[in-house]
């Protein structure tokens, strides 16, 4: 069986095209069903995010499948093939595997190391599993890519460090306060910027939030828009700040609204409880000297942007380590692929044994006809069990072989000894794809034996 990936990504296609090629619009599930009906694939998974639309497929004829899947991408999304074709990227077998591993590890992302992609790949696999379009090949491939994603995250610094200003602010707050739940956030200014940052804090588990604005009505409006926040009038600013842990200032004021002396006065009754001030206003709302006060952590928008730049630079230096992990996992997957070379032979062997059993049962049918039905069932059962037991060891032995050469020698020997030539060809059916994936899963000895092999 061959592995192919066909699709577009931010590397190959402009955003205008990516917007139009989005399987989420009509639904990934429908797309999977529609693709299966075309019969060119035996297994398929569709990974569709705002930066990529890729179809991973297992098939018998790589060339035919590549063309058909490319065609399907334009058909399903109703984009003329001539517009899609120049941007389509196609990869086969280990190149396809390496590509998915790099995607899952965040190496192929627009922002290298961003963590969301692994979750999106997992969702893609789940959707395909629900639509029953995955079989042993893609199951193995995707589970390997989850391992890559996990290893990249835990063994390299590729995913560490916030790469957007609002994430950087949240990450800093976490480093100062630990858990953000139960923390008190104060937003000064009722503008759009303040609201966005407050919403971001809310998604991070902050429950207590107060909006202060020169116009009480604006504050109340913003508080309502955020939901669960309260508004306070301007003359209560000091009291509100005294109770706050994180302060976001985003007013349009032309002069600083918080001077160093003012912040010092606020800090005194707090007994040095830390205060994290995020000044995202331009011009600045807080006098920079306020950051000199013990236990006051003052960051303005430039500081946050600088930490983001540092994080991006650090990520770039971790890429090589992540690539090493990808290469290791590709090697492992390649070894698994090679061991699969024996599968058609195993299937043929089983079919041959089963055929003999059935033929013998039929031949003796007239003798067995005199037996009661339970006894006849028992005969059927026993003969079946004998075959299973006879085949168990050879199947497991074949499974354990790692290199292609030995697999070749073994299959050759088996084919000759049992005269499997015709059956082996028949065991790899080129039947329509819909049922084929499931059928393959049923006669798939490796798949069935997976949970038992603890090695």
């Amino acid at each position: 069986m061959k592995l192919v990936v066909v699709g577009i990504s931010h590397r190959t296609a402009p955003v205008e095209l990516r917007e139009r090629v989005d399987f989420n619009v009509r639904g990934v599930r429908e797309a999977l069903v529609a693709l299966a009906e075309r019969g060119s694939t035996r297994e398929a998974v569709i990974v569709s995010t705002c930066n990529r639309a890729e179809i991973y497929a297992a098939c018998d004829d790589a060339k035919r499948t590549r063309d058909d899947v490319a065609r399907f991408i334009s058909d399903f999304n109703e984009v003329p093939p001539a517009e899609v074709a120049p941007h389509v990227q196609e990869l086969v077998d280990l190149d396809a595997a390496r590509h998915l591993f790099r995607v899952a590890g965040g190496l192929d992302s627009l922002v290298v190391g961003e963590p969301q992609i692994l979750g999106q790949v997992k969702e893609a696999h789940t959707a395909a599993a629900e639509a029953q379009t995955v079989g042993p090949m893609l199951n193995r491939l995707f589970h390997s890519c989850f391992a890559v994603g996990k290893r990249v995250r835990t063994e390299t610094g590729l995913g560490s460090g916030a790469v957007s200003v609002s994430y950087a602010a949240v990450a800093l707050a976490r480093k100062i306060f630990g858990d953000l739940r139960g923390r008190n956030v104060v937003v000064i200014g009722a503008g759009e910027m303040g609201k966005l940052t407050a919403l971001h804090m809310k998604t991070q588990g902050v429950h207590k939030m107060t909006i202060v604005s020169r116009t009480m009505a604006h504050a109340a409006q913003t508080a309502e828009a955020i939901g669960g926040a309260s508004a306070a009038p301007w003359d209560e600013l000091d009291a509100v700040l005294g109770a706050g842990d994180i302060v976001i200032t985003a007013t349009g004021a032309s002069a600083a609204i918080l001077t160093k002396a003012h912040v010092e006065a606020i800090m005194r009754p707090r007994r040095n409880r830390p205060l994290f001030i995020i000044d995202i206003a331009l011009p600045r709302d807080v006098e920079p000297a306020a950051g000199e006060i013990e236990q006051v952590f003052l960051y303005n928008i430039d500081d946050l942007q600088a930490t983001v730049r540092e994080n991006l630079a650090r990520r770039a230096s971790e890429v090589a380590r992540a690539e090493t992990i990808v290469a290791e996992e590709v090697d492992k997957f390649a070894a698994w692929l090679r061991s699969r070379g024996a599968i058609p032979t195993v299937v043929a062997l089983r079919q041959r044994f089963e055929a003999i059993r059935r033929a013998e049962l039929e031949r003796l049918d007239f003798k067995l006809a005199t037996l009661p039905p339970e006894a006849r069932m028992r005969v059927d059962e026993i003969t079946h069990l004998i075959i299973e037991k006879l085949l168990l060891t050879p199947t497991e032995q074949l499974k354990a072989i790692g290199d292609a050469e030995t697999v070749g020698a073994y299959t050759e020997a088996l084919t000759r000894l049992f005269g499997l030539t015709d059956d082996a060809a028949a065991a790899a059916p080129r039947a329509p794809a819909t049922g084929a994936a499931q059928q393959d899963a049923k006669v798939e000895p490796f798949n069935r034996n997976r949970p038992r092999s603890g090695r």
């Binding site: 063994e155 480093k175 306060f177 630990g178």
Partner: protein, 275 residues
């Protein structure tokens, strides 16, 4: 000689913790913890053997007291690591363990079995002080890491420690807990010591050590200074809201005094505690 085996494993664990801290490879981290567990087990064995040998926990004599202290500190640190799943502190604790363990390993002392040093009060006195010192060692290390992280955040240069240490709040809290525990045991140790000295003055008045047991002895004075420093730290935390960096500096100062008391004074200066 027996103290060398744990020393070697502690040293190996130190290397692994250092490697883990810079590379952040989880495999190396697990190896480091495993090595430390083995070191602590070997150390437990050594201390167990000595206990059987002399009939009580080997705390008499500066050398074996240091070994027991290292053992307690390793166990306390392991407990914290396994409960918080936070390995970053190991890189600071292990060098302390290794350098202190080097003393009993390279300069084995002879266990003193003088009858004056036997009895339950003496055991309580020494073991609660050792436990207090182990707590203070942890507090000091936590304080140092707090200051390192604090400086990075203040300087707006988020780098090495930012990526590796837990939050300031957590460090502050851990430091406080360690100081409270240490202070309680220090207080118990000093009080029990005083009671024991008063009793000894009656029964063993001829012993030169007992005669030297007064506020003039450096070991006793420094221990009291220590108690004052930590009492002030707790008082300041409660009454004037001193936490964070100031508490961290005080923890470091306190532990420097503890170390001073533990090694040079025990070996060279004290008249009353020279066992």
């Amino acid at each position: 000689m027996m103290n060398i085996t744990p020393l070697v494993i502690y040293a190996a664990a130190m290397v692994a913790y250092g490697w883990h801290f810079t590379e952040r490879n989880p495999m190396v981290g697990r190896t480091a913890t495993t090595l430390l567990i083995f070191a602590a087990l070997a150390h437990t064995f050594v201390i167990g053997m000595l206990t059987m040998d002399v009939g009580h926990v080997p705390v008499a004599g500066a050398t074996s007291a240091i070994s027991t202290f290292v053992w307690l500190l390793a166990l306390a640190y392991l407990y914290i690591e396994l409960t918080t799943d936070e390995r970053a502190m190991g890189v600071f604790i292990l060098p302390l363990l290794v350098s202190l363990q080097a003393i009993p390993a390279l300069r084995p002392g002879v266990e003193d079995l003088a009858p004056v040093l036997q009895g339950p009060l003496f055991g309580v006195h020494v073991s609660s002080l050792l436990f207090a010192y182990a707590s203070f060692a942890l507090a000091c290390v936590i304080g140092v890491t707090y200051v390192l992280l604090f400086k990075e955040i203040k300087a707006k240069h988020l780098g090495f420690f930012y990526a590796r240490l837990p939050s300031l709040q957590v460090l502050d809290r851990m430091n406080h807990v360690a100081i409270v525990v240490g202070w309680v045991f220090l207080t118990i140790g000093i009080i029990v010591g005083a009671i024991w000295a008063a009793q000894a003055q009656g029964g063993y008045a001829g012993d030169p050590r007992v005669q030297a047991m007064s506020l003039k002895d450096p070991k006793i004075i420094v221990a009291l200074v220590c108690w004052l420093v930590y009492s002030f730290e707790l008082f300041a935390a409660r009454r004037i809201g001193w936490g964070g960096r100031r508490a961290a500096y005080l923890s470091t100062l306190g532990f420097v005094i503890v170390l001073l008391n533990f090694v040079p004074i025990s070996y060279f200066f004290t008249q009353s505690h020279n066992f």
